[in-house]
């Protein structure tokens, strides 16, 4: 039994994470400025979930002639016609448009479908969606409300469980993750839909998970080494957690990797966002959340700092 990989992961690393934190802070700041700028300049590519409009997914018995389809859409006379092919599935494509002024969305879809079938007899519509402008706005609002509430509640939990400076560190780091993820979505132009909100919430979940696990170790070490400087304890805790972080991160990426390749075009944006979220969440745990605790400092050797126990086994 020589093969368990864990033997090859160095046991006692001595990376000076905190020393690099200022560099990381500058790096993150640049990325955040870039993300915010992109969000303002380019905005998110809102899908019909949030913008309203019509979408038809079509399938043909041969690779879809995208250029012909595009010119056909322009002839039909709808607004904002977009034709989108899928690299992995050349026989299908997505057509999006806004119905003409005063036209019922469903009538517009039916009309476009009829016109397309007239031009391409082997074309079949496999899925159609029509979302009204009103419901789409409400969806976006409720989506962001969900993000906000989830963030506040987890902040509350971490504050209650560890203390305020931990909670602040975690939330700043998680907001950092969300902004960068949104920024990436904006730069790459991935369509922002209801499932992207789900992906963002998962990113929050994973990122919080990372933070909580490191906080836990930090807290324990603070009690163990009462006189060691905080900065060294942070480094120590991160090093102790490193092998776990690598293994868990790799597993998560492996699990999603299959979906990224085989999940098809519909699932791709969701998985892409999650993968980025896992990477950025791991980064921000190490370089944002923990160093921030150093900035604010923590109470040590204080009875108040005893963690609340949930009937869990007590520490030795």
């Amino acid at each position: 039994m020589r093969w368990p990989l864990i033997r090859y992961i160095p046991r006692a690393t001595k990376f000076r994470f905190v020393r690099w934190a200022p560099v990381a802070a500058v790096f993150s700041a640049i990325l955040i400025v870039g993300s915010v700028a992109s969000l303002f300049v380019q905005g998110l590519n809102l899908g019909i979930d949030f913008k309203g409009g019509n979408a038809l997914e079509i399938a043909m018995s041969r690779p879809v002639p995208l250029a012909d389809l595009r010119s056909a859409m322009n002839q039909i006379g709808v607004h904002d016609a977009q034709v989108q092919g899928f690299a992995s599935q050349p026989n299908s494509a997505m057509v999006k448009f806004l119905p003409a002024e005063g036209q019922a969305p469903s009538a517009a879809s039916a009309n476009v479908e009829r016109e397309l079938v007239k031009r391409f007899p082997d074309l079949k519509v496999t899925s159609r969606s029509e979302v009204g402008a009103k419901v789409s706005g409400e969806l976006l609002m409720s989506g962001f409300k969900a993000l906000g509430v989830a963030l506040l509640l987890t902040l509350g939990y971490i504050w209650f469980r560890f203390g305020l400076s931990y909670g602040t560190g975690a939330v700043v780091a998680v907001i950092h993750d969300i902004v960068l993820t949104l920024g990436l979505l904006s730069v790459v132009g991935i369509e922002f839909s209801m499932t992207e909100i789900a992906a963002l919430l998962t990113v929050i979940g994973y990122s919080m998970n990372e933070k909580v696990i490191t906080f836990d170790r930090l807290k324990e070490n603070l009690r163990k080494y009462k006189t060691t400087p905080l900065r060294d304890i942070i480094d120590l805790s991160e090093n102790e957690r490193l092998s776990r972080t690598i293994i868990t991160g790799t597993t998560a990426l492996l699990a999603l990797g299959g979906t990224m390749v085989f999940g098809g075009p519909v699932l791709f944006p969701l998985v892409f966002t999650m993968v980025f979220g896992i990477i950025i969440g791991t980064y921000s745990s190490i370089y944002i959340a923990l160093p921030l605790i150093l900035v604010w400092g923590v109470k040590r050797n204080d009875d108040d700092a005893t963690p609340v126990k949930f009937g869990a086994a007590s520490r030795p």
Binding site: P4, A198, G205, R244, G258
Partner: protein, 532 residues
């Protein structure tokens, strides 16, 4: 902790049995499933519309249109009441929510006020002696009539309830398989019809208001008057049939579709054309009889959704409580109209807010893509975790398999909907589940390196990792629950998968591996931890 107490073994065995039993229907062919005894679980995963194909419709009940109509009826009632007592009045108009009228004869002002207070409006449910209309006197011989706010709200609630009922009846008569019709928010109705990939057919049936009324044709208006727009108050112009493009009819309906007990497609014995035969209830039959008796030789209009279907001349009193409506029907359109009339009118128009359809074919592709990615994700995780931790990794992999079985079993049992994003949620749940085992094993390793015996190290690994695991899962649970309460549609499915996953992962990652490792210690009696 690693002692194999009886309850632990029982819990683990039971959960494995449960997981296998409840997820089994998903892989068995339908024939085997049908042959299984009734006490065994038969429920398969409830696939979302995005996975199995089907239609999703979100309607908004236009309660404002309903309210506008009620206001205009109230104005007509005010006019009729004042006329019936021959109280002179003028300046009857509606401004926003308020209907105001000026009484011409100051001496009869109080009469008018009492009359309107007595006769307008209906009792308000839930308020003793309260009415849904308030009548108040303003100086200068003016009277203001309006609906009380509670009535407006109650009307809207009732309209949505009634719409849901009507839609249900209409969909049932179509024979669509297991549709779900739910209220969403204040005035929305969500319809999910799995397997129904022709939303146009659904919509054609659901969206029609099907408001049928019988109204007298206003014979006093000449075609010239109509052209010049001289329409008396109390009458209205409606688009017509093949005989006349427009009709002027009295606004007040004499009989309406609510008084119907039945409607059926038949053939007109005289012309042989398809017609719709109506049967009225007692009060409707009486009103219909009176109206036709009083107006022989005049015409009445059969109005459906503000369009005149036909305007026959009354030959004789129709007293039998039934009648036929003719129009330019085909057998199919007569059938459709009868269906709509039977299921009742919608109290208010419906606006489509969101409509999505996925063909079953695309749904099947989605299931295939989802299963393949799930399988590949799971297998690569198994391989990796075994590579990382050897034997203990194998235990973790077994726990993962049980985890999948449990999630699938619980979702089949509770008939929670599995959506496309839900599959992604499932994959991520598995990834985070591994984290619990990683934490435990890392702890064991630390403890073993600190000089504990293998047994004690393993034991402490579980104990010490538990807090971290709980913390991490509680945060996951929080975001899952938030998604569940705020999200809709696919996000809800995703959240549900996540929430179930938190519980099953906690259980499998901690208990299954513990029992397996405990059993291994008992049989192998190792001198050294395999991961140290």
């Amino acid at each position: 902790m690693l002692t194999l107490s009886r309850w632990k073994i029982i819990a683990v065995t039971l959960s494995v049995v449960f997981g296998i039993l409840f997820s089994l229907p998903n892989v068995l062919p339908q024939k085997t499933l049908d042959a299984m005894p009734a006490w065994l679980p038969h429920q398969k995963l409830n696939l979302g519309l995005d996975l199995q194909g089907g239609s999703y419709l979100l309607y908004e009940v236009d309660t404002e249109a309903l309210h506008r109509e009620r206001l205009s009826n109230l104005m007509e009632d005010t006019r009729t009441q004042l006329r019936s007592e021959q109280i002179p009045f003028g300046e009857l108009n509606q401004q926003g929510e308020i209907i105001s009228v000026r009484i011409g004869d100051p001496a009869r002002y109080n009469d008018a006020l009492n009359l309107l207070r007595k006769n307008l409006g209906a009792p308000l449910a839930g308020a003793i002696g309260g009415k849904d209309v308030s009548v108040s006197g303003k100086g200068d011989n003016r009277i203001e009539v309006r609906f009380v706010p509670e009535a407006i709200k109650a009307d809207a609630v009732k309209a949505v309830d009634q719409s849901i009922e009507t839609i249900r009846r209409r969909i049932d008569s179509l024979g669509t398989k297991e549709p779900s019709i739910n209220r969403q928010g204040e005035n929305r109705i969500m319809i999910q019809a799995p397997g129904e990939s022709d939303p146009e057919k659904l919509r054609a049936i659901i969206g029609k208001t099907a408001k049928l009324t019988f109204q007298m044709v206003d014979e006093t208006v000449t075609p010239e008057d109509m052209q010049a727009g001289r329409i008396p108050p109390g009458s209205e112009v409606l688009p017509g049939d093949q005989y006349a493009p427009y009709y002027v009819v009295k606004k007040r309906a004499i009989v309406s579709g609510e008084e119907l007990t039945n409607a059926q497609q038949q053939f007109d014995p005289q012309s042989g054309n398809p017609v719709v035969q109506l049967t009225f209830n007692a009060s409707g039959g009486r009103k219909f009889g009176e109206m036709t008796g009083r107006n022989i030789g005049k015409r009445f209009a059969i109005v459906l959704d503000d369009k005149v279907l036909s305007a026959p001349t009354i030959q004789s009193a129709i007293t039998g409580g039934s009648g036929i409506i003719t129009g330019n029907f085909t057998v199919q359109s007569a059938n459709e109209l009868s269906l709509l009339l039977r299921s009742g009118a919608l109290p208010a128009p419906l606006n489509v807010e969101d409509q999505r359809t996925v063909t079953a074919e695309l749904g099947a592709d989605a299931v295939k893509a989802g299963s393949i990615s799930l399988a590949i994700g799971a297998v690569s995780m198994f391989v990796f975790v075994i590579l990382a931790y050897g034997l203990f990794g194998g235990f973790a992999a077994i726990a993962l398999v049980v985890n999948v079985l449990l999630i699938v079993g619980i979702m089949s049992m509770t008939q929670a909907t599995l959506t496309f994003p839900g599959i992604a949620g499932l994959i991520l749940t598995l990834a985070v589940a591994v984290d619990a085992n990683v934490l435990i094993y890392e702890r064991m390793r630390d403890e073993a390196n600190a000089g504990r015996t293998p047994m004690a190290a393993a034991d402490h690994g579980y104990k010490l990792a538990l807090t971290s695991i709980l913390d991490a899962n509680i945060t996951s649970l929080i975001s899952g629950l938030i998604m569940f309460s705020f999200g809709s549609g696919p996000v809800k499915g995703f959240a549900w998968t996540l929430v179930i996953g938190v519980f099953t992962s906690l259980f499998t990652a901690i208990f299954i591996t513990q029992v397996l490792i405990g059993w291994w210690f008992k049989t192998a009696k190792p001198k050294k931890l395999p991961i140290a």
